[in-house]
């Protein structure tokens, strides 16, 4: 197979990148691979020299850890001056410290934090343990929805469904 870049030499290097599920594959010759390495086209993920040093691999990550929002500091600020209702933080202070001001900041600055969170964890949502508080909350939401359906069933005189819903609600309210 010929190198995908120069289309002259035989491809000897295979590179696969996966950025948030966006997968690319490259077949390159040694020269083009070396050139890419020099240009840093693959970012820190494919910093061939550094990646073989365990501590530098870590440093790359820790650099990210110190201020994951740092890269956004220079962006034109949309809605500048907006502050979190709970802790009073604005987006620039979050970007500077790399830390949210309080739990509510994640809701308050949701759209502006989303790209960074995606960058760190990929395009994904939480799975695993849930806090009891929200389990209760989601239960309550579900009960409210069922009650609505029950009203509807009674209105349309669908008593079989209504009885079923009533039992379900009863069980959940226990």
């Amino acid at each position: 197979m010929l190198c995908q870049k120069c289309k002259k030499n035989e491809a000897t290097t295979y590179i696969k990148t996966n950025v948030n599920g966006d997968v690319h594959e490259y077949h390159l010759c040694a020269d083009c691979a070396a050139e890419l390495k020099g240009s840093g086209a693959f970012g820190t993920m494919f910093d061939f020299d550094n990646i073989f040093n365990p501590m530098s691999g870590f440093d790359l990550v820790s650099g990210l850890l110190t201020s994951p929002f740092g890269g956004f500091g220079g962006m034109p600020s949309i809605g500048a001056g907006k502050r979190c209702a709970v802790c009073g933080s604005d987006f620039s202070s979050i970007a500077k410290s790399g830390k949210a001001g309080c739990p509510n900041c994640y809701a308050e600055f949701k759209s502006r934090l989303a790209p960074t969170i995606k960058k760190i964890h990929g395009n994904t949502v939480h799975c695993g343990k849930h806090s009891k508080v929200t389990v209760e909350q989601s239960n309550e939401n579900e009960i409210a929805a069922l009650k609505k359906q029950l009203d509807e069933a009674v209105k349309t005189e669908n008593y079989e469904l209504a009885a079923e819903l009533r039992d379900k609600i009863k069980a959940m309210e226990k």
Binding site: V61, S62, C87, C102, P103, I117, I120, V133
Partner: protein, 347 residues
């Protein structure tokens, strides 16, 4: 302050895979709704959070009332703080900035809950072998108990909300401390580290973030916390760790066929049994050789279990806590050599 407690500490018991696994740790980051994160909290707010968590864990008729003690970080001396870092009870970051923080410490020191470090709570559980599943069960129980009375900050999409977005989701970091002298020596570790990054794990020095490896001790941990469940994270890490252990064992067998390498182990023992003064850097290197010799059955007269105990005893702050806060480094080096000569007499 902790020496009075005669209960056996977790690190004084031998765990599974003790030839390569030094210890295992697992922590949950949790925060309370309605409070800023610790880096912008007032002293008053920190106090409120400390008290809320303390009461939730050991207040009233809690079954854990007698199992934990509450320690105000402001009341700890710098030496006590450092000694706790050496025992991995608190993070170096917490020791640097203890103001307003607190600690809920289980009597056998296997559970330590840091209050107002980077997050409101860092529930940390430690064990001596490769026992991530057991540690998870313990941490999960404590977390569930606290969740009954505390209002944890949680979002359906982002999971547990944490000060730093790198911990969002499960808020869980699981790590295994490994002794990897052979794959460090033959270069396998370097290639391995590259692979780990790609599958969401990292390998780094023994005291976590930003620390260097000393004495071939490395910490392998998960990096991603959002979108992967606790159970899956643990099973991945178990698999990775077992693969690393297998590589280390293979490399050890190869290295030990080499007389020169065996000679290095015996020389290390010679120095440790005879030196009159030894700094902690030299100790870390020699200890690594000795530990490998014992783990591979080349050296007898001491167990890896006992070695872990000695290791904890001769760390700088550990020595100062026991023999006096005002010890100079020279005095510590002398004391370290004294202890080693005594403890390794039968090796």
């Amino acid at each position: 302050m902790f020496g009075k407690n005669n209960e056996k500490k977790w690190y004084q018991t031998e765990g599974s895979n003790s030839d390569t696994v030094i210890s295992t740790r697992l922590r949950f980051a949790r925060n309370l709704n309605g409070y800023p994160f610790p880096h912008i909290m007032s002293g008053e707010q920190k106090k409120e959070v400390n008290e809320k968590v303390r009461d939730a864990l050991i207040g009233g008729n809690s079954s854990l009332r007698d199992s934990f003690k509450y320690i105000d970080a402001d009341e700890l001396t710098p030496v006590q703080l450092l000694s706790m870092v050496e025992r991995h009870l608190i993070s170096p970051e917490f020791a640097r900035n203890p103001r307003g923080g607190a600690l809920l410490l289980m009597n056998d020191e296997s559970v330590s809950i840091m209050l107002n470090e980077e997050d409101h709570l860092r529930i940390q559980v430690m064990g001596s072998g490769l026992e991530l599943d057991n540690l998870y069960d313990t941490a999960d129980k404590i977390d569930t108990l606290l969740d009954e009375t505390l209002q944890f900050a949680f979002d359906e999409e982002l999971g547990y909300l944490t000060a730093c977005p790198t911990n969002l989701g499960t808020g869980m970091r699981a790590s295994v401390m490994l002794h990897l002298p052979a794959i460090e020596a033959d270069g396998t570790l370097r290639t391995l580290a590259a692979g780990l990054v790609k599958i969401g794990a990292t390998i780094r020095g023994s005291y976590g973030e930003g620390s260097k490896s000393s004495g071939s001790m490395y910490q392998v941990s998960n990096q991603v916390t959002l979108g992967i469940s606790e159970k899956d994270t643990i099973s991945n890490l178990n698999e990775i760790t077992n693969q690393i252990i297998a590589l280390e064992k293979k490399s050890r067998a190869r290295l030990l066929e080499n007389d020169e390498y065996q000679d290095k182990i015996w020389r290390a023992i010679g120095i440790m049994k005879n030196a009159r003064t030894m700094d902690s850097a030299e100790f870390a290197d020699l200890y690594s050789m000795l530990r490998m010799g014992v783990a591979e059955g080349i050296v007898s007269g001491v167990t890896t279990d006992k070695l872990s105990d000695i290791y904890a005893c001769v760390q700088p702050a550990g020595l100062m806590e026991k023999f006096g806060d005002n010890m100079t480094p020279q005095q510590r080096d002398k004391k370290r050599a004294d202890i080693l000569r005594k403890e390794l007499a039968n090796v």
